[in-house]
């Protein structure tokens, strides 16, 4: 009988159990964030100088643009999310990470999968479906890695000492179920040798894209915020009832969005989606109320810390959700469809909302998990201000360009070349926004990597000291 099993784990033990896994997940995520934003800049260069990569098939717009998006979503958003989920599950359950070696293996599989997928896209090996561009080998790696981490998370969840569930549990638990389901469905029905026929393909593609980019990111982002905000302001979430309402409406309405209003498919599909898009306002309002009631009047000195990141992320979530609902409304969709408004919403969702929440969570958890201060706390705070400027300059001009493009496309006498020319000025500004975001991502990566290197040096020193230390007397005798 081991007495340790009944003892409540100390914070230090919990943190130590998470250390290697989280570094593996976040380190790779930081690399892919930089890569994704850099690829995004390369993609947007095409609009400033169209024949820049005329002789280079690897960097043609149609390959770089999806590669950039996939690097951000699969490379950064998902592994960062998985790391944060593991941390929250361990913290809320007051238990060390179960199976601590599994996420390390899974993180490496995951990053290998992303690398395979991205190289595949650049050489032309893509499935041709939005957000599913990765080749089959890459998808299998990602799926296996996700299952391993979900298993670890579930085991940690099962071993929890605190039986009461926190609202964050619902959101994150649902997210763990959501991804394997949608990812396997989409890959098995679209990216195999015998895919479904005709327009069923895009229908399933839209369903998948909506459930991943909108619902999944919302579940993890909002769930994380519901954990972080009360913790930082040191009051309970206001209130559990509201949170339950927001959770249920988000998953029941959100899962039905995504089919564009004018799609060449049976009319009942886009009609249902439009309806669900309108109803999406309900969870958005509920979430906004919860955030305001929880943090309203709280005196937290922040100046660019995790609290600021999370607040800004939630503001972006509400905006992104409103943009999404507007795009689903048939009246506006006629104008906004096929314009830069859609990409603007996606980027706001990924970089304005989700990445911000993740940055906040990582800056909050990393010093605890590593039991060391951030190497450059000032750069971390600078990262916040850089991100705000970057996201605003990237997304707002793109959205305005989209609205203008949509209005001009409605007038058949305005030539397409003139429509595009009018968007160029907005593009120039949004490219500057991308460059600023890239700078921010470098600050983030710098903090994570210097921290990792310092930790490895310390480990090495400890090991060296252990080797050099004189043997204890007891062992000498033996």
């Amino acid at each position: 009988m081991n007495l340790n099993e009944t003892r409540i784990s100390t914070d230090a033990e919990i943190n130590a159990s998470l250390r290697v896994s989280l570094l593996a997940l976040f380190g790779g995520a930081a690399v892919w964030l930089v890569v994704g934003l850099a690829l995004g800049v390369v993609a947007s260069l095409t609009f400033h100088k169209p024949d820049m990569f005329a002789n280079c098939s690897l960097l043609t717009y149609g390959r770089v643009a999806p590669a950039a998006n996939d690097a951000l979503l699969y490379g950064f958003c998902l592994p960062a999310a998985l790391g944060v989920i593991l941390w929250i599950f361990a913290r809320l359950g007051q238990t060390p990470l179960a199976l601590p070696i599994v996420p390390v293996v899974a993180a490496n599989l995951w990053h290998l999968g992303v690398l395979t997928g991205l190289v595949g896209i650049l050489v032309g090996e893509t499935s041709g479906h939005i957000w599913l561009e990765f080749s089959r080998a890459a998808s299998v790696l990602l799926f296996a890695a996700f299952l391993l981490i979900a298993m670890t998370a579930a085991a940690t969840f099962g071993a929890r000492r605190e039986r009461e569930l926190h609202p964050a549990h619902w959101f994150l638990f649902a997210a763990l179920l959501w991804f394997p389901w949608i990812y396997s469905t989409a890959n098995l029905l679209l990216a195999t040798n015998a895919p479904v026929r005709g327009v069923v393909q895009p229908i399933i593609g839209w369903w998948f894209a909506n459930n991943l980019v909108f619902v999944w990111l919302a579940l993890v982002g909002v769930g994380t915020a519901f954990y972080l905000l009360p913790k930082i302001v040191e009051r309970p979430l206001a209130t559990t009832g509201y949170a339950l309402f927001a959770f249920l409406t988000l998953i029941f309405f959100g899962a039905w969005c995504g089919i564009p209003a004018g799609a060449p498919v049976p009319a009942w599909l886009p009609t249902l989606s439009s309806l669900a898009g309108g109803l999406l306002i309900v969870p958005l309002i509920a979430i906004a109320i919860i955030v305001i009631k929880t943090i309203g009047g709280a005196k937290v000195s922040c100046s660019g810390g995790p609290f600021c990141f999370t607040k800004f992320g939630m503001v972006c979530f509400i905006l992104s959700g409103l943009m999404y609902a507007a795009g689903a409304c048939p009246k506006y969709s006629r104008v906004l469809e096929f314009t830069w408004f859609g990409p603007a919403q996606v980027q706001l969702q990924m970089l304005g909302f989700f990445a911000m929440i993740m940055f906040g969570a990582i800056y909050e958890l990393l010093p605890r998990v590593m039991n060391a201060e951030l190497p450059f706390p000032k750069l971390a705070r600078l990262h916040f201000w850089v991100s705000i400027v970057g996201v605003s300059l990237f997304v707002i001009p793109l959205a305005i360009a989209g609205v203008e493009q949509g209005i001009k496309l409605q007038h058949a006498n305005v030539a397409l070349a003139d429509v595009n020319a009018s968007a160029l000025m907005f593009f120039r500004i949004s490219t500057i926004g991308q460059l600023i975001l890239l700078l921010g991502s470098l600050l983030f990566a710098l903090n994570i990597f210097v921290m990792t290197i310092r930790w490895k040096i310390a480990l090495f020193k400890t090991a060296l000291a252990a080797i050099k230390a004189p043997l204890p007397v007891s062992e000498v005798k033996a």
Binding site: I182, L190, N211
Partner: protein
């Protein structure tokens, strides 16, 4: 929501219901879709692509053309137009009087402006549009009236909307258009024009190749990237290649060289030329125009 199992069940029900709605139901409804029949004809649609065009779809996929181009035309609605094609025994002046006599009638009142304008300076040239944009009921009524007056008329159905006004297509895209595509690449952004009907709009293979090699030589101010890696620039041998792309001077290669498309470029163009969504279908009807409109 007190236990993990509760959360699991609720989430599974939420996602499961949307899975049934947007994955299972469309597969059951459309997964076994068969060829459509062209309206007023026994022809089936779509026709199978040639081998080159089928391979070209994969070139289209591999180069991510769908990142900037949609393949779906939208329409605002369908309307009828009534054309006067023969006067019978009537004189133009008599016909004008006949139209005048219609104007006070209540059922034609909302068409009165149009009718007055149409026949104000008319000198008897045929065919002449009587009603330009009307519903089926009024069109039939007008056709009956014209028949009773001893004139010949023709009623045409047409789709309208900005995409159609731009010349991107003749009707909206429907599910049947994509039966043979794999993957189906509808596209979601129009940084370039819609391609649903590009095989009809720009049927010249050489212009297509020229456009791929140097987009700005065909469409000035185009933001499309050039796809020069799909072409080979080589010295002209003893005889020039029959495939060589003819280019305007400022885009032409150095003297003594020619631009020859690689197989991929030829396949891609074969695919583009196979994009012809121009037949009327039950769910997207229109009357094909045999002679070009003036």
């Amino acid at each position: 929501m007190k236990t993990g199992l509760g959360v699991f069940i609720v989430a599974a029900v939420a996602l499961g219901s949307s899975w049934c709605g947007f994955v299972l139901a469309p597969t059951l409804q459309l997964g076994g879709a068969k060829l459509a029949t062209v309206l007023n004809s026994t022809d089936t649609y779509p026709t199978q692509r040639t081998g080159d065009a089928t391979l070209g779809l994969q070139i289209y996929r591999a180069n991510g053309c769908a990142a900037c181009h949609t393949e779906q035309v939208r329409q605002d609605g369908v309307a009828c137009e009534v054309l006067l094609t023969g006067l019978g025994k009537n004189q133009p002046e008599e016909f004008k009087k006949f139209v005048q006599s219609l104007l006070p009638l209540p059922e034609w009142q909302h068409h009165s402006k149009e009718l007055t304008a149409a026949f104000k300076d008319w000198n008897g040239t045929l065919p002449q549009v009587v009603l330009g944009k009307t519903d089926k009921e009024s069109a039939d009524k007008m056709a009956d009236l014209l028949k009773a007056a001893g004139c010949k008329s023709e009623t045409r159905i047409y789709a309208f909307g900005t995409d159609i006004a731009r010349g991107w297509g003749v009707r909206r895209s429907v599910a049947a258009d994509f039966l043979y595509d794999n993957p189906v690449q509808l596209g979601s952004l129009r940084a370039g024009p819609d391609l649903a009907n590009i095989g009809v709009r720009l049927a010249d293979a050489n212009v297509q190749l020229q456009h791929l090699y140097a987009p700005q030589s065909v469409a000035k101010n185009s933001t499309m990237p050039a796809f020069r890696y799909l072409f080979e620039i080589r010295k002209i041998g003893s005889t020039p290649s029959p495939d060589a792309v003819t280019l305007p001077k400022e885009f032409a290669p150095a003297a003594g060289c020619e631009v020859v498309p690689k197989t991929e470029a030829k396949q891609l163009v074969a695919y583009l030329l196979s994009l012809r969504a121009n037949v009327p279908l039950y769910e997207a009807p229109f009357t094909p125009v045999i002679s070009a409109k003036p």
